[in-house]
Symmetry: D2
């Protein structure tokens, strides 16, 4: 079993992460983690800070000479703007008051709920941790997990399929081709035409001081059959994936396979019929509406 904890505020000194359960002997370098962190920071329409500052993770524990030890792996991402926030976010009581409190809770954030829960008067005490910046460490820890999965040839590709109501038509292409296109796209969108319209939609929103929503899809290949289990509610793969995805800030919905489209379909159009290839002695399916997770 893997487990991890993260810590760190958006403008604090650093973000920390400890992940436990990665086997020993796995080849792993900071640069692999950092390439995922770099990808996190790209993206059309991002704020200026995002583009200028480059997050880099240091491996501080658990890896020696390029190989995991079997001990917990510790990662640190320093906040580059720390020099401007040293007093304002200092753990030291003597720095108290070095910046006036934030008193206006923002909608669409945990601000109001957070000050109620934790009895804060300064909204900053909430927004610093509730921030999407927290996902930087999750990306870094996720990179470690991805390296581990790559040993089993498991590959994970994510791409944008909708922004501001404009839907992409990525076409029925191989994962390799899809991945290529996505890496080249500023919006991580494989449909060039849609991408152009999405950009326009972003530009317009930006001009009005607004933002637009979107949808992305994650494709995983070479996953062995039988991960998770129907034996107990909390081991089900559908559930675990939804748990992880919905824990990301700003995500308000998750589907597996055709998802909500199943609601408007006949069962016969939803289930993935099972075939057997006698020559290869293998089961196979011609469709994948269940998203590979057949334990409906």
């Amino acid at each position: 079993m893997l487990r991890f904890l993260t810590a760190g505020e958006s403008h604090g000194q650093l973000l920390m992460g400890v992940i436990e359960g990665i086997p020993s002997g796995l080849a792993i370098t900071a640069s692999e983690i950092n390439s995922d962190l770099a990808r996190r920071q790209t993206g059309y329409g991002r704020g200026g800070r995002m583009r200028i500052e480059k997050d880099t993770a240091e491996i501080t524990c658990g890896v020696r000479w390029g190989r995991t030890l079997g001990s917990p792996i510790g990662l640190i991402i320093k906040n580059r703007d720390w020099v401007n926030w040293t007093d304002r976010m200092s753990p030291d009581p003597s720095m108290s008051g070095s910046i006036p409190p934030e008193t206006r809770p923002r909608p669409g954030h945990a601000d109001l709920c957070g000050i109620i829960k934790y009895a804060h008067t300064d909204v900053r005490n909430v927004l610093e941790r509730a921030s999407a910046r927290e996902t930087a460490m999750r990306v870094a820890l996720g990179a470690v997990a991805k390296i581990f999965l790559s040993v089993f040839s498991v590959r994970i590709v994510g791409h944008v399929i909708e922004i501001g109501g404009i839907k992409a038509r990525p076409g029925n292409v191989s994962v390799d081709l899809l991945s290529d296109r996505v890496e080249k796209s500023e919006l991580r969108c494989a449909d060039k035409k849609a991408e152009a319209r999405m950009k326009k939609s972003i530009d317009e929103a930006k001009k009005n001081g607004d933002t637009v929503g979107g949808v992305f899809e994650i494709i995983t290949t070479n996953v062995p059959a039988g991960l998770g289990s129907y034996s107990q509610w909390d081991k089900r793969m559908n559930a675990r994936l939804a748990y992880a995805v919905m824990s990301i800030q700003a995500i308000k919905g998750v589907e597996i396979g055709i998802g909500f489209d199943a609601a408007a379909s006949f069962g016969s159009d939803v289930h993935d019929a099972i075939y057997y290839d006698r020559s290869k002695r293998k089961f196979y399916r011609k469709t994948n509406r269940a998203g590979g997770l057949k334990a409906v």
Copy 2:
């Protein structure tokens, strides 16, 4: 912290559940649990067995003279058809072979994946636990949790909003009125006109030996602010709710608030603006697009 484990096969002797962490002194009776089990068994278009057999839960542990003891609560639901399955599902090795093995894995079920994972040759060894019958015990344990929540006036109402592509328009009604309508509806749908069309859609599908999908909505009232936390990924309320809901068989998507509709909207149309009522000295919002979970 509440935790629970369930056990039991679809045609086995019984279903078992243990739930731990319910405080002492809570008033609780089997009949309250059984009324939720009865509701689970109603529903237009259900199979015959569902309608004839009535599940009843026995409280076997943890409750004395109508009050919880603080000890774990144990529940049992006997499978009424057990008499016909005693040999076929017996734990006794001498009963081996009393029914021929199921050899055809069904699509839309865990059958194929399960026999691979657990190295079974008889598909029955999978389908008996992977079955939706497992949710009977979850309903019973959930009823206990609901009774606990009712102490805090928390109320949970669920209703069908789409079947076979037909969408209900429940109207902007109070939870009380919605609940009344739902309890009277065979489909647990508050929109009578939509209900009629949904029934037709079910009838047609049935005639063709098929099924139709659907969507339901869960509304919870009086939930105190501050449940869950943004402090760590696995404590986030959005995530926990998705985890629980997606652990139910056949569910392939979950949304909170306006969910996927947010993807096609501007941020300004998604966030729920915060207002302050000076006379009541209270924050309030005029919209609820985040589903009450503001920690976007």
Copy 3:
């Protein structure tokens, strides 16, 4: 990872247990579990009830035709005296008051602490769950775990080494011989002479309405190297074993290997020197003061 929950009161209808994580295909029968339950009930000096009533466990879930399914395993032990307690321990509120409340908390039990914690006025509401009877289900679930370990030839033998201050000298015998002697002994003590004196000590205490304490030793053979881990505090084997053992009612101390004797020794007399047998190409040790758990 194995996990389990138990439920049940001492004079309630039954004890329940659910254990999860046992692999599929394991051969298992109720009679194997029951032979461990029978051993729990023997023992010189036990109360009359212990000797007359025989606990038997029913496998209600998770096992079919003598093999585990991979689903959770459910066990039930009926309380044989239930007929006399049906009203007194009924979950039904209408039975309230069918026996006067226990108002005197006993020393050496959780009584006083329990009524404070759970706000009970009837001590019975505590003693029914805090009772050592709870271990009956743990023995049954432990029997399942033992059967699983036996696949790896892991064997667990327990024997009494001290009662009422009288120490046994089991001698330097093989585990097989030790086990034989233990099974034949009324006190589960391998030293016949010491056993005779222990019995006398028990008889005397009994005459005075008193009890005597004791110490038992557990020996496990064929455990593979590398269970547990030093990587995180909660994975350490020393710690996990102590956790499990100290969770048993009435146990107030646990040692591994020579335990507290190490405190009065030089390091050189405590550590188990490592040798290497070139012909067998194997490490070995001549001593076992660390109890086989070398991760001091």
Copy 4:
């Protein structure tokens, strides 16, 4: 629920710790944590390195202006000797081989077991994490927990009661007096005479390149009744304390209250009789053989 993870190797760059679940608003400073770290490093007979180098913890996350935020608290302890180990313990594959491998597993350590478990050939890959140095971060995180407990006036005092077979007689003194004496003692032993003899025993062992064992006692005051629970095995306080204590390197035994002495006693001499003071309307006990944990 509190949870924490630590990471870090003995000669690595630093030790990391994340603790989660500490409420917001708690006053906490690095100097309080560091005073506990300083106490860890004192002690007669310690190696030279221990005396020269001073561990200091930095609070990197979760605390602002002297108050906890409710977010996870992150701590870092830099290894002062890192400059000499930068290459030898580098996560960078290019540093591979900058120090020859350790090939001799030491007895009394996890060395041999660790290289088997994690398939290492260099023993250093084990000893760096299995090291007692790991407890430095546990002391720091424990200091945070102690500060939290101090809000409830819970106080924790530890003192040495045996070294090399020499037992201390701390006398029947108040916790305040005991604590005073302990803080002044080089051996953290409240019995001056015994301390002198213990020191001699340590000196002698040292001369022979040997070490001596010992026993310490932990006393906790003002603990509220009802922590933990008899409701499930893993919530029992006896068990949880043993779990934590036995997770510390080199500890091979744990007792609560009179512990193993109970084995040689009559029940009547072990249980702590309950009295009731009518004027104060309070239960009390004259003895404390169960170590305050009455749920025998």
